[in-house]
Each structure stands twice: as C-alpha cells, then as structure tokens.
C-alpha cells in the first residue's frame, strides 16, 4: 500500500522538473514516482530481451569530467537499452582546463543538439552551472561533494525492494561523510522518504552542522549500528589517509571497518550496502561484503541501470512530446 505522501498526480505533474541536479528540491512523491518508474526496467533487464526502442533517435551525451567506470557504464547501458544513441565524452581531469572551457564544452554539447546530457564534475555546483546554460535536460552523475542523485535513488530502490517501507527504518551511513556526495544525496532522499538516518564518522570527516539535514550524528560505530536496518558503508579515499584525516588504514578499520562481529550489533536482518568501489579489508571486510543474504552491493549496481533508465525516460518525455508531458 502506498502511503498518502507518496501519491503522485498523472502526467507531467508527477515530475515537473527539467533535469535532475539533485535530490534537494524533490518532493517525496516525486522520488516515489521515479522509483515506481524504475520497476518496469528492473523487470525488463532481468529478461532476455533487454531493449525497448523508447528513445530511438535521441542522442544522449555522457560528459564525464571526472574519472568513473561504473556510473559511466551504467548510464551508457541505460541509454542503449532504451534505444538512444549514447555518446561518451570521457575527459580525464588533467586534460580539461577549468574555467570558460567548462561552459564552452557545455555550449558545444548543446550545439550538437543532445537530447539529454549526463554530467560528472569534480566541483560542487558544476552541474547546476551547466544546466542553466543548455536547452536539454541535464542529469547529475556526481558534482564534487554536493550531490549524486541517481545513486541515492538506486539505493532507495534497493532498500524499498527489500524492506518495503521507509517509515521508521533506521539507516546508518558510515565513512567519509565530509567528502561524500553519495552521503548527502542519500541523507536527503532517505530522510525525505521518512527513514531515520544516522551518520557515523570521525570528527575530521564529519561536515559541520550536518544534524541540520535531519540526521543523527555518531562517532562511535557500534552505537550507530545498534538497531540499524540498513548499514551503508562509504568508500574511504586512500589518498585521504595520509595522516591528514585518518592516521592509517588499519587504524580506520579498527574504529570504522564493518566486520562480521560489528554487523552483529545491527538488526539481525540488516542490509549491507556500499556504493562501490570497495576497499575490501578497510571500510568493509570481504566476508561481510560477500554475505549472500545480507549484502546488497551487486543489487545496487543492478538497480542503478533501472533507475537511470527511468530518469532518462522521464526527463525526455517532454522532448519526445509524450502525451500528458509535452
């Protein structure tokens, strides 16, 4: 049964946004709508016929100004399964000059008449900047430490499939919250859907005033795990462990590594999630990551393709003059 705050109207009013720059600004029912839309693609992707010519003739450009393997691949597969012409513009960080070049690149993509542009960039706000300059829908595939909305949506879809409801669900997010756009989008998304969100990190990796985003702040991982229904581990970027934020990888694991023993503190059916790529043996032990019953890590990847298909479909409906959306 769908709770009333998740019911959405028919047609374009269900998702009246031009692009997807972030979870901030989305109403709970709009998030729910995208999750519902994704279900059909989960279904289709599990079948033998994995292609529907919904977006045939449309050009989708994946402009990745920051290195990515899985997100880029996921968006590419999503576009192709919907029949679109997908072009990847992978720009290594080093070869792209910052500055006007970013806007100029956006204008160039715009002039090539892309029907949707997917952007990843190392600077917070870069995607919003580009979205304001181009005519087509823009999807944020991660901007700096700001947002990564499709990751939050695929995580929500993963949780919804396993747990059904979000109300009262306790989700613990542990790791480098400070530098994590995944954490920010997930906090906004899960809190908006009614979950109780806990964040856990040492003070140096915890952003100031994060409790204003409606989360409970923990520094003690064991306490944060108590009663948790979902445990979401974040990747620790190894270059941040040079003594500036964390004394060493093994010290980090000592306090914040998800071991089988630690997982015992959470609910007995708690889900284990990780946006990947994992540092096995640092933030998460292999025997936890590979728990067949509990680990959702590969399911997250699967949901990622479905969510991105839903986003590409919904955001191009206006351009495709779909009935009720044009």
């Amino acid at each position: 049964m769908t709770p009333p705050e998740y019911t959405y109207p028919d047609g374009a009013l269900a998702f009246p946004h031009r692009g997807l720059v972030g979870i901030a600004g989305l109403a709970p029912h709009e998030i729910w709508f995208l999750l519902d839309e994704a279900e059909q693609w989960v279904e289709m992707n599990r079948g033998a016929q994995k292609r529907r010519e919904l977006l045939s003739g449309l050009t989708i450009i994946n402009a990745f100004f920051e290195n990515s393997t899985r997100t880029l691949l996921s968006f590419e597969i999503a576009g192709k399964r919907l029949g679109a012409d997908v072009v990847n513009m992978a720009v290594a960080n080093s070869s792209v000059k910052k500055g006007e070049t970013l806007i100029d690149t956006a204008m160039t993509l715009n002039a090539m008449r892309a029907d949707a542009i997917v952007i990843r960039h190392a600077s917070s706000g870069a995607v919003a900047l580009i979205a304001g300059k181009v005519d087509c829908p823009v999807l944020n595939a991660g901007d700096g430490q700001h947002e990564h909305p499709t990751q939050a949506l695929l995580d929500a879809l993963t949780i919804r499939q396993a747990k059904r409801a979000f109300n009262g669900l306790r989700v613990t997010i542990c790791g480098d919250i400070l530098h994590s756009r995944v954490a920010r989008s997930n906090i906004l998304c899960l809190a908006s859907l009614g979950a109780e969100v806990r964040v856990c990190a040492p003070p140096a990796l915890m952003p100031a005033d994060i409790e204003q985003m409606g989360v409970k702040v923990f520094h003690d991982f064991d306490a944060a795990l108590k009663g948790a229904d979902v445990v979401m581990m974040l990747r620790l970027q190894l270059e941040r462990m040079e003594g500036q934020f964390i004394p060493s990888p093994r010290e980090y694991r000592h306090l914040y590594g998800l071991t089988l023993e630690r997982l015992e503190k959470a609910e007995s059916n708690a889900l284990v999630m990780h946006p990947g790529p994992m540092n096995r043996g640092i933030e998460i032990d292999s025997n936890v990551a590979d728990l067949v019953e509990r680990s959702m890590i590969t399911t997250q990847v699967e949901m990622g393709v479905a969510i991105r298909m839903a986003c590409l479909d919904v955001l191009t409906r206006k351009g495709r003059k779909q009935e009720g959306w044009a």
């Binding site: 901030a24 910052k98 500055g99 006007e100 970013l102 806007i103 960039h121 600077s123 917070s124 706000g125 870069a126 919003a128 900047l129 901007d143 700096g144 430490q145 700001h146 947002e147 756009r181 920010r184 952003p207 100031a208 005033d209 994060i210 204003q212 985003m213």
Partner: protein, 417 residues
C-alpha cells in the same frame, strides 16, 4: 601653483570635521581647503558649484583595493585608495611601488601598500623602508596571512621601528586551506570546501600578541566574526595600536547568500553566519570597527563564471560602498559623521594623508552626496570594469552627485537614478 581656478561649492550641508552638519559653502585654492562655513562666499574668478542643499562630505578613502578602477571609484565618491600589493607582479620592490603611486594621478590618488614579504610568499621580508620612501603608505600581507609566527614577529618589529602600520588578512591559513565557505549548514548542504569561522579569531589572537610584543601598529583588513571582534575590542581596551576594518558585504550578507552557488558571493574571508553579521553591525556601532572599505576586486566571467570552488574570490565594491554604509545610518546604527569617519577620516589617518575630513588646510577631496537618492544596483551596468557584485538588483539609497579631487572637478554628471 595650481593651473585651475579656485573652487567654491555653495549652498550645501557641510559635514564638518567635528561631526556637525552646517549649511554653508566651502572654498578651495591650489588644491587645499581654504575656507569653510556658513559665511564663506565665492570670489571673482572662482569656479562655482551649487550643491543644492546636498551633503558636502570628504571624498572617500578606500583601504585595500585590488585594482585601480577609476570609473568605479569616481562613481562611488572615492578620491584615494590604498592598493593591495597583490598585483601582477606584486608590489614588493620600490620601483613597482613608485609606479603604482603615480598611476591614478591627477584625478585619483593611489596609495600603494607595500608587500610585507618578497613575492608575498610569507617568508622573507621585502624592502619595506625603500618602498616607504617610494610612496608606500603602509605594509600589507596581501590576500593571505603570514603563517610563520617568527616571520610575522620580525615583520612587526621592523614596521614598528619604521612607524608603519601592518595591514593583515586575518585567517589562519592552516585551518582555511582551500576552503571557499564558512563551515556550517549551508556549506555542508552545498558540499563546498569549508573552514570554521574560528580561523579568524585564531589569526587575530596571534597577531595581536605579536604586535604587542613588537610595539607595532596592526590593522585587520576584514574582521567578520564575533570572536575576532571581541579580541580587537579587548586589545583596544588595553590601549594597543590595533584597528579593524570590514567590507559592507559582512554587515549586509550572511552565508545564506552563497546558496545556488552564486560565485559573486564567493568572498575572502567567506561570508559568515547571521550571528556574526549581527556582531559586525554591533562592532560598527560601538567603535570596534574603525574602517569600512570596499575591497574592490572586479572580476570578469573568466574568473566568476565557474563552479563556486573554482572561481576567484572578491567583489566589485567601490560603487556600493557609500550607499551600503549609509544604510547603517538609516537604520540608526551610526550617525552621518561616524559614517564618514569610517569611510574617509579613519582610513586617511591610518595612511597618514592630509585628507578625509573637511577642514581648512586639508586637501580638497570633496564629494557632494545626495544621501537619500534611491537607485538599483545592476551588475550589467556598473561603472566598474566587471559587475561582480553580490548586491545585483538590490535597491539602495545614496549617490554621489559631484566629486572633486584637489579642488578640481572629476565628476558632476547627474546620472539618472
């Protein structure tokens, strides 16, 4: 011997050096004020300017600007500005200082600030005495703080001996790092690199201690937090030669303004929280803040049309300096005399120049101001070389109707409001 005829500005409300406002006229000869008051009359041969009951005030003296942007300064009523050493190349040798000191004359005077350290690197002292004799009016650490306490102590000992004030940027560099915002909910939501506001108080505490040790004068260019202002207040109470400045952005805006990643609000120091903004207003009122300055730093799209963290900090502030300061007068925070102390008399005193107040013998730098005239800031139509103002579309009051430098008119055009 001036080539220009004597000037008499008649029929105005004179803002006198003692703070009184009196109807009358002011007469200038050979670049200096020679008579002021109710009974002053224009003589035969004088150039006469009718102020039409507007305020006759000293031209503004703006400490710590990054560019010589004459149209903007003239629009804003600024007749002198102290130029930051952060030029390309930096003002760290006597020749560059001498060149900069001449660069605005005759209608705008530039007072270069000597770089405290070579190439503003924060380690080796620059040739400060030679730069002083080449025209530098004070010493400045530039956009950055001198991180090494030993270097800062030796700098202050040296400037103390030379009788020069050190103007410093008050933010602990180790804490600030590459931050572009003040830590708090806004920076957290936007995912911007941020640093705690306490970085300012830390820097001020150290520098006050070092200045006291060295017996030197120190001026903090922007004091923007309650904790930093408390330290300045305490130092003043102990009789130390400590002064503080601020730009209007810090009493007008809080870090809420950085929402939507508006790079025109990317300033250095970063905008603070609302409590700090209120503390700045209180410090302007109680005298803790001595100087209000524009920090004029025009930046074009190549520096500003970027993701927030990649953009350059700074705002074009010369045109809005006076009207935004006058908003404090309208709000009853300060009176008109105090406004011009903050904008002209105090900065002139810090620089040791004979200007910034209307009295016989002072240089005739005069602004005729309609303090009530309303207008709307428009970043597309600024006099400045770039329109990077966080006050775009904001209605303000107060406009300079005429500006005189050394008794010679530089601007009288009555622009449409």
């Amino acid at each position: 011997m001036s080539l220009h005829a004597p000037l008499t500005i008649t029929n105005g409300r004179l803002l006198l050096a003692d703070g009184r406002i009196e109807t009358g006229s002011i007469r200038c000869e050979a670049g200096f004020i020679t008579a002021i008051g109710a009974d002053v009359q224009a003589q035969d041969g004088d150039t006469v300017h009718d102020a039409r009951r507007s305020l006759i005030a000293p031209g503004l003296v703006d400490i710590g600007v990054f560019a010589i942007d004459k149209p903007a300064f003239h629009f804003g009523g600024v007749t002198r500005a102290a130029l930051m050493p952060d030029q390309n190349p930096p003002l760290d040798t006597p020749a560059r200082v001498r060149f900069a000191a001449q660069s605005g004359k005759p209608d705008f005077w530039v007072h270069p600030l000597a770089a405290a350290t070579q190439e503003l690197g924060g380690t080796a002292l620059a040739e400060i005495a030679m730069m002083r004799d080449a025209g530098a009016r004070a010493v400045c650490t530039g956009r950055r703080w001198v991180g090494d306490s030993g270097t800062m102590l030796r700098l202050l000992q040296y400037t103390g001996m030379l009788g020069m004030t050190v103007i410093t940027h008050a933010e602990d560099g180790g804490i600030v790092g590459n931050a572009v915002a003040t830590s708090g909910e806004m920076a957290t939501r936007l995912g911007l690199p941020s640093a705690p506001a306490q970085a300012e108080a830390l820097a001020i505490a150290r520098d006050i201690a070092l200045a006291e040790m060295a017996g030197a004068a120190i001026h903090f260019r922007n004091v923007t937090t309650a904790a930093g202002l408390d330290l300045v207040r305490g130092a003043k109470a102990r009789g130390l030669n400590v002064t503080a400045g601020v730009s209007p952005a810090y009493f007008m805006l809080s870090n809420l303004a950085i929402g939507a990643f508006r790079t025109f609000t990317h300033l250095s120091p970063a905008l603070r929280c609302e409590d700090d903004r209120q503390a700045v207003i209180a410090a302007v009122a109680d005298g803790t803040i001595d100087i209000v300055a524009s920090g004029h730093d025009p930046r074009g799209p190549e520096d500003k049309r970027l993701p927030f963290a990649d953009s350059a900090p700074g705002m074009a502030g010369a045109e809005t300096l006076l009207p935004l300061t006058l908003s404090l007068v309208r709000d009853g925070v300060i009176d008109m005399a105090r406004a011009f102390d903050l904008l002209a008399a105090n900065p002139a005193r810090l620089l040791g120049v004979n200007a910034g107040r209307l009295e016989v013998g002072a240089e005739a730098d005069i602004a005729v101001v309609d303090t009530e005239r309303p207008w709307i800031v428009n970043s597309d139509k600024m006099a400045a070389s770039a329109g990077n103002t966080p006050f775009d579309r904001q209605p303000v009051q107060g406009r300079v109707l005429a500006l005189f430098k050394g008794g010679v008119v530089v601007r009288t055009k009555k622009t449409a409001g």
